[in-house]
Symmetry: C2
Subunit: 339 residues, 2 copies
């Protein structure tokens, strides 16, 4: 990066599976765009790696965001610094959380979907605004509280529990007084959940028999399931629901790369038998509450009751290495690229 | 019936598919039971034919009612008359709505699950307490109002719309100011829905292409789906949901005879994309509201805004003929046996 060019990742073609290397090209000599009225030019500091963006790489037009057009830079969330401003509320040097591109520089404005100035002086580390606050934190809180309606004493199961959102969702439930069980795929992640994050139990669903473990740990059934993954894990949980269970679906990672429809959960009929509810949700729907949610999370953090882990990968050129961690089960907490 | 024996239908074995003749035996010389303290002896006047009871005939123990034990009389709802009482609130001649057996005589009490005295003098026909009020009416109302949260101007689709519950659910939605589309399986039923019950449209899903019709009739998607049937119809609707759609599942008739799990809807992922909700419900959960719901429905009826159709089959010996109508698509409204 020489400061005069805008390196960026272009979606050259739609990926198959997790072959992102064939789909995304790293362009070294892009132009730095010029902000129009109401826009700012943002220099990326931290790119947020989010599994949900996998869907926008694909051709599906029935997702909750339209596909990123082939031949254009990949889109995502970031923390950045304003280097040029034509927006009345932003000055050079302001830091913000926004949607932009996987690039050194992006344009941003109210039309970006996410466009929030961050506090100037603060006891919170900058990456925490994506690792603990921001959409991951809002999703965790809204999913457990508003969608899952978790109540003290209930049993809450979280999938992808060592992921960026799941690790927060489990802590929200724990802080509400719920019994929390995390599903994850490695022993060290299980230990992180129970020893560092205060989960009551962790199940390694790749090595243990999930249905058997649920019978042992949740003989009364699962009251709330916070789901990130869909597929077979969701189906198994649906066979272990308590009466009036609530399933909050914030992601279906196991299905984002699908190009064809797959059968739904075979335990779907249990929704009737248990008078249960499945609800899909998306944190922007809770945007009006986000300020309040973020304050709660940061207060919990200051009180030592809410923590996070960031895996930083250095260098925009290493973005795909960072992105892969979301899909190969290797990440613990939030993955970010430090540009 | 000679008044001294208690004819009754015994579940001799669990049925395969809709072969009820092989499963149920008509016993001509059962004993008339003697009420214990707190019980009444009820002479059946009208037996309610309900598709949900098909599940209790099967072996599934994960349903919302346990299976009827093999070798015992089949259970169901009825309107009857007290012929002997050991309950302080019931006298001989009182009429009630209760759970009992497919038999001339049943014992009933508060433990029966449903046990309600009916008004003595009334402008409402006795069968209407099962055809319009009672669990079908409560289910219709709770499903549209409490679970479906249907609002004026929204598009509501009802499956099995010419059935006992669906025909009422569509009218509830219409009375709330919704646009109502009924799914049914015959042309005469389509006409009944639009010409007599005030549905805006009816789709014959066996002869018409459901997905195409939904594209034409609901270009903005379906806001509320009141589902009785599950299976392929539900899957198709899930592919046509509006944003924030609500699906109220009150029955899964297409699956009651299943002995193995079947794949769930392939459009399950649309719950996330559309931030939609699926909720299974069961009218006893709304029991505390039932008095109020029933008053609303009867008031609508008196005002000419809520009607019903009863198909009466005469004779306890013809119960299976009546019951078949629920599964062969031939009924229009409520099927009852007049004992």
């Amino acid at each position: 990066m020489d400061g005069n060019t805008n390196r960026n990742w272009v979606l050259a073609r739609r990926p198959e599976g997790d072959d992102f290397e064939s789909a995304l090209e790293f362009h070294l000599h892009g132009n730095i765009p010029t902000p129009a009225d109401g826009q700012v030019l943002v220099k990326a500091l931290y790119l947020s790696m989010d599994a949900g963006t996998r869907m926008w790489m694909g051709p599906r037009t029935d997702g909750y965001q339209p596909p990123v057009p082939v031949g254009t830079p990949m889109a995502g969330m970031m923390i950045g610094e304003v280097v040029e401003s034509r927006h009345k509320d932003f000055a050079i040097g302001d830091r913000l959380r926004t949607f932009g591109h996987w690039a050194d520089y992006s344009l941003a404005s109210e039309q970006s979907g996410l466009f929030q100035k961050l506090p100037v002086e603060d006891d919170i580390d900058l990456p925490a605004y994506l690792a603990m606050g921001g959409p991951n934190g809002w999703t965790a809180y809204a999913g457990i509280v508003d969608v899952g309606k978790a109540k003290k004493g209930e049993t809450v199961v979280v999938s992808a529990a060592a992921g960026a959102t799941g690790s927060l969702a489990g802590q929200v439930a724990r802080n509400l007084g719920c019994r929390v069980i995390g599903l994850t795929s490695r022993e060290d992640k299980c230990r992180w959940l129970t020893e560092e994050l205060g989960f009551d139990h962790a199940i390694n669903y790749r090595q243990q028999n999930l249905s058997h473990e649920l019978n042992v740990l949740c003989p009364g059934g699962v009251d709330v399931y916070f789901d990130n993954v869909g597929g077979a894990v969701l189906d198994t949980i649906m066979g272990h629901m308590a009466m009036y269970a609530r399933i909050a679906i914030c992601g279906l990672v196991s299905q984002y790369a699908d190009t064809e429809k797959k059968p739904g959960p075979s335990n779907f009929d249990q929704l009737l038998m248990k008078r249960a509810t499945v609800q899909g949700f998306f944190s922007p729907d809770f945007f009006s509450q986000c300020g309040e949610i973020e304050k709660t999370l940061m207060d919990w953090h200051r009180a030592g009751k809410f923590t996070y882990n960031v895996e930083l990968v250095d260098g925009l050129e290493n973005t795909l290495k960072a992105y892969h961690r979301l899909f190969d089960g290797s990440n613990m907490g939030k993955v970010m690229v430090r540009v």
